[in-house]
Structure formats: C-alpha cells, structure tokens
Symmetry: C2
Subunit: 369 residues, 2 copies
C-alpha cells in the first residue's frame, strides 16, 4: 500500500531514515545489553545527585504543561552566562534548535555551508527543508574558518554551520580565532556557532558571550546533553540578539519542553561544583582512552570535548571494522562518516568500568582484523 | 537592532507569539501561585503512583539519549491498541506531531480545512508553513463532518483536521459517524483525526482502530497528556498505515523524545486500573462543574472530554470577563476564541479542592459583573 499520495514534492523526495543507529537497536540485534556505551558522547558519569533529587520532586508536577515562556530557565541561563533572558531561546535539545534555525532560513535550493564530515543532523535538517548543502574540507582535522567564509561568500549562502569544539574530531579553534571568524561572516549569512561541547573545552576556546551578543547574524547553541549529563532530557538553548532570538517564537512548539527536563536543567546549572567534578573525570577518562589506544598502536587526537577521535592509521573500512569488532564485544562506539576523517574512530569518555571493557576488547579486535 | 535580515519571506511574515498565555505567566503577573489550575485540560489527578515510581527509576538513566526508534513504546502501544508497531509514530506531544503533519502536506498557499474555532495550535502550524486556512462553522457546538467534507472537496484541500471529542467544546460524534466521515474523505485529502481526549469519551465515540488502519489518508493522534496525567512529559503518538507513518521518519527529530517521559508513558499505559480510577474522578468532577455552574445560572454543555464548556448565555466579552474575574480569584480557566463558541467558558476537571475554589469564586465574579 502506498503512503498518502499528496505529500509535498520536497517531502516525497526525502528518504525515510534513522540518521544514527541507536545503541538500543544494537542491543536488540545482539539480544543482550551493551557492556560499554561510548558511542553517543553521552556522559556516563550521569547527572548530579542534586539533579536526581530535583527530578524526583518535579515528578509530582508532571501533569502540568511546562511554562511556554521557559521564564525561569532563561533567567537562570542569563544570570549564568551574563546576558539577558531575551538573548536566549530554549528548545528540545540542540537538534531541535538546529531544525528551527534551518527552517528560518532555508527554502528549496538555498545554499548552506558546513564542513565535509560536520554534524550530520544539521545536514539532515538542511535536506529536510530542501537546502543545497555545500561542504568545505577539514584542515588537519579542524574545521577551516577561512575556507568556510570563502564558501559562504562565493555561494551567497544565508546559513553557515561551525562547531567549536568540533564533533566528530574533538578539535577546536581559539576564542580569538572564533571571534574573528564570527565577525567576518557577512551580515547576510547566519552563523550557527554550535558549542555543544563548550563546557569541556579549554577556557581560551570560547569567545566571551559579550563579544558576539550584539550580532544579529550569530546564533550560538549549547546543551545540557553533554557535560551536564542530561542527554535524555532534551534541553538545549540558543544565544543571540533579542530580535533574532524572537524568531523562534514564530515557529517553535511553545509547549514542547518536558517539565521534568526543565527542572533537571535548572538543578544542573545550579550545581557547578558537580560540573567541575565531571569535567575532571572526563579529563581522566580521555587520558585513559589515550593510553589504551596508544598501547594498541593507534593515535588519539587532541580533544576539547567529552570524547576522543582516534586515528587508526588506515582507511574507513579499517576503522569501520574496529567499530563493528568492538560492537561485537559489547563496546558501542561510533566513527566519522567521510574521508579523510573516517580513518578515525570516536570514543566517548566514560566511567572506569567502561574503560576497562575497552582496554580488554580493543587488542582482541585489532588482532582479529 | 533588527533581526537577522535574510529570513525566508514566509518566516519574516509570521508574528512572534506565544499562542496561549501559560498559567505561570499569570502567576508571575499576580505575584502569587494560582489557587486552582483548571485552564489547560491537564489532569490535576496526576499520573499514577506507578508512573512516579517509574520516573524515579528512569532518572538515573537520563544521561542516555532515548532509543531513536522508540521501539519499546511503539510495541506497547501496538499491543494496547491491537495494531502493529509500524502503524505508530511517537512524537513530543500531539502539538509536535501536528506540526510534522502540516509540514508533510502544506506549502505556501495550500488550502487546509479546520472548524472555525477548532484547535488553535493546528492553525498555528498551518500558518507557520504558509497554508491557507479555510474554516467551517460548528453546528450546534459540534464539528460538522458534512460541511468539512464539502469544504475539503470544494477547496481540493490536501489536509483536513477533525477532533473527536472536540476541544474547546467537549462535544463528540458517534463512532459510526466518525468512521463514515473518515471513509468519505477523498483520498487526496489527509484527515487528521485528533483523539487527544478519546480515553474520556463514551465507548461508542471511537471508531475501532481496525476500522481506519488501512487508510493511507487517515492519521489518528493520541496523547498521554490528558487522561494519563502526563502533559508535562510530552508524549503523543500517531496511528496510520505503515507507509504513511514512515513519513515521520523523513522529518522528525529522531532523538527528540525525553527518556524519562517515555518511561513514564510506558508505565502509564501498563496501569490501566489507575486510568479507570482517574476516569471516574473526571466524571465526578465534571458533574461538580455542572452543579456549580448551573447553580449560578450558567449552562454546562455535554462533554466527552476532561473539561466542560459552559454556556454563559451572552457574548464573548461577557465570557472573557468571567475568565478574567476567576483569574483574579486565582482560578485559571480558558475559553473558546471565536463566536459563537466564545459565549462559553471552558473549565477542566480537577481535584475537589479546585472545585471548591471554583464554587467559592464564581458567584462573586458573576455578581461583580
């Protein structure tokens, strides 16, 4: 039986897809739970005990819709960041925010710039609104601001995506470089500066909030999914000028935020001591990933995120075989999708028991190839 | 300072809005908590204790993204409904699902049919994708299937919205009427049959799942927000043919569901005894609303939902004055937006202490007008 026959031509042209295979699908396929979940850059250190407590309290109120203005969370974020509440829009994770940004700017045929191998979910949204993706190669495993700028100008593109720190490579640019880049973006081009991993980055990798807050063509995106350990809660936010931020009110799902998630995010933001504790654990785990992979003849790349991209020294097929081999041992990791990045595997920081599984499985996998 | 200057013409044309003022905004304005929250058709009876327990358990896993296939919830819903998992798409509340459906079908200028005074958030999405809303009057406070059909044919509209039971009036059509209507919808028109309140309706108000499951041009939407008491969790679902349902995979936010929310929905679905208990409480509360409003010279309308539309016997200004007057007493209710429905106020079922507040405030408000 066919689907409903009168979908828009654009929707008809799109593939039905699940962009990433979830670890649960792997578990269903294997018929048993994963031993180590290190593929989605979640935080196995979990949210703070204070957050768990806040969730318990909020549970009783989950019969209520969430405040559609997200007043309290925006106020708390503004105080934390040193900006105003009307500089902030809250959304159901950065993925949802990226979808809205693409919708604001992209019509069928609109050119959009991303790095070749950059965040696939952004590209998914671009395709979903009919945009024409134009990509720029990484430069030594880092996104290339000069080439991205050149492409944006050449294509007269109204939308440009740049992640700092970068996923999937874990690389980063200095605050000065990022600030200069953002200020050089033509005012007819909207820059999405995705800072999903910014809490994990060196202090000098993030331009100050003040430095870009007055630019109508810059939206910075951040999330509680990574360092704060709340990937399952779906709380992301966008930072920009009040006028640009107000555009979200035109199209967002005003009652879309989960009430418990917002309570969890508020508690997480309050507990900066726990965040620091987790950042310490992430650093230790990244060092462990470095040791383990180096001991097996692989080359961990520098990382400003909660994961490590590891150069396996050969092609994408070889890296894929390692990903699959680790998967068969119950160690879930992922890898970049395109060459030359796909000579790497990508391993999330995690608790020591997960690191031990990795340490045990990796040499066996490499030996078997 | 202006917003980013190169938004699409459609986005530029849209208003920045919060479609409904949230009760939290009223509380901020009044500087104190509401006494009774009876305006958003939430369930003040709350979710089941078993659901609260499930939330507590799931809290520890909230560092993990949710299974992007929503496998477990779709399986459970399929077993509950007597269909297959691939007949079901899960989304972040019905509002989000409606947005996706509109996006599937609507381009600028596309005619879309709704009742005049029907669900505003559906209309918000139609406007958001540039659709041309064509409305059909209610017929004695019920949506008018024959006139909706006629409009769909006349306009050659690819999208038609019908709620059963209806919001904001609480009215309904019999299963036979709805089934005949759905089957008469031209195959070039997608019918959204919104059954958000179906658990509260008489048994003979819902066509069987089997009766419409083979129709590519029918999508039924349901939710955990109303009778199940999980409005803040944002879990809705769509029921249709596998092919039509697969369309959601083209555009949905695959990792958009909150993990705790999915766990809560699974637990809620399992606890049908609690649902029955709540349905009993809703019936009692609706009877109370009937008594209270009749005692004050108003006319409660029959309701198949968890709220009662109450005819105040005069115009929209009068009903608005009652809504505002109750608000000043801390009793939050809402009302339909357009004539002639706006001669009514809409009061959600709630716990007895909320009913007592209503009983206390209403005569004072009416006297003051």
């Amino acid at each position: 039986m066919p689907a409903f026959t009168r979908l828009t031509p654009l929707i008809t042209s799109l593939p039905s897809t699940v962009p990433f295979v979830g670890p649960e699908a792997i578990e269903r396929q294997m018929g048993k739970p994963l031993a180590a979940r290190l593929g989605a850059n979640e935080s196995g250190f979990g949210p703070a005990p204070s957050v768990i407590e806040a969730i318990g309290k909020a549970a009783l109120d989950t019969w209520k819709y969430t405040d559609p203005e997200n007043f309290e969370l925006k106020e708390a974020l503004a105080a934390h960041l040193g900006c105003k509440a009307d500089n902030i829009a809250v959304g159901e994770g950065v993925d949802s925010i990226l979808g809205m940004i693409v919708r604001m700017v992209v019509e069928p045929g609109t050119p959009v710039i991303n790095s070749f191998g950059g965040y696939p979910t952004f590209n998914y949204h671009v395709a979903g609104f009919g945009g024409k993706l134009v990509t720029v190669p990484y430069e030594n495993d880092r996104e290339n601001p000069a080439a991205l700028l050149e492409a944006a100008r050449r294509e007269n593109a109204p939308l440009l995506y740049f992640a700092n720190p970068d996923n999937p490579m874990g690389s980063w640019r200095s605050a000065d470089e990022v600030e200069a880049f953002a200020k050089a973006v033509p005012e007819e081009t909207l820059l999405v500066l995705d800072e999903a991993y910014i809490e994990c980055a060196p202090a000098d990798a993030a331009p100050s909030i003040a430095s870009l807050i007055d630019r109508p063509n810059v939206i910075r995106t951040r999330t509680f999914s990574k360092a704060y350990g709340l990937a399952g809660a779906r709380v992301g936010y966008a930072i920009g000028t009040p006028e640009t931020i107000r555009t979200f009110d035109k199209i967002r799902n005003h009652f879309g935020m989960a009430r418990i998630s917002v309570a969890a995010a508020l508690a997480a933001l309050k507990d900066q001591a726990y965040l620091q504790e987790v950042l310490g654990k992430i650093a230790i785990s990244k060092a462990r990933i470095g040791e383990i992979t180096r001991a097996n003849g692989l080359t961990p790349l520098p990382s400003a995120t909660n994961f490590v991209a590891v150069d396996c020294g050969r092609d994408g097929d070889y890296a894929r075989a390692i990903v699959n081999g680790l998967g068969a041992h119950g160690v879930f990791i992922r890898m970049p999708g395109v060459a030359p990045l796909n000579r790497c595997i990508r391993i999330s920081a995690g608790v020591e028991s997960d690191m031990a599984k990795l340490e045990e499985a990796l040499p066996q996998v490499l030996k078997s190839l």
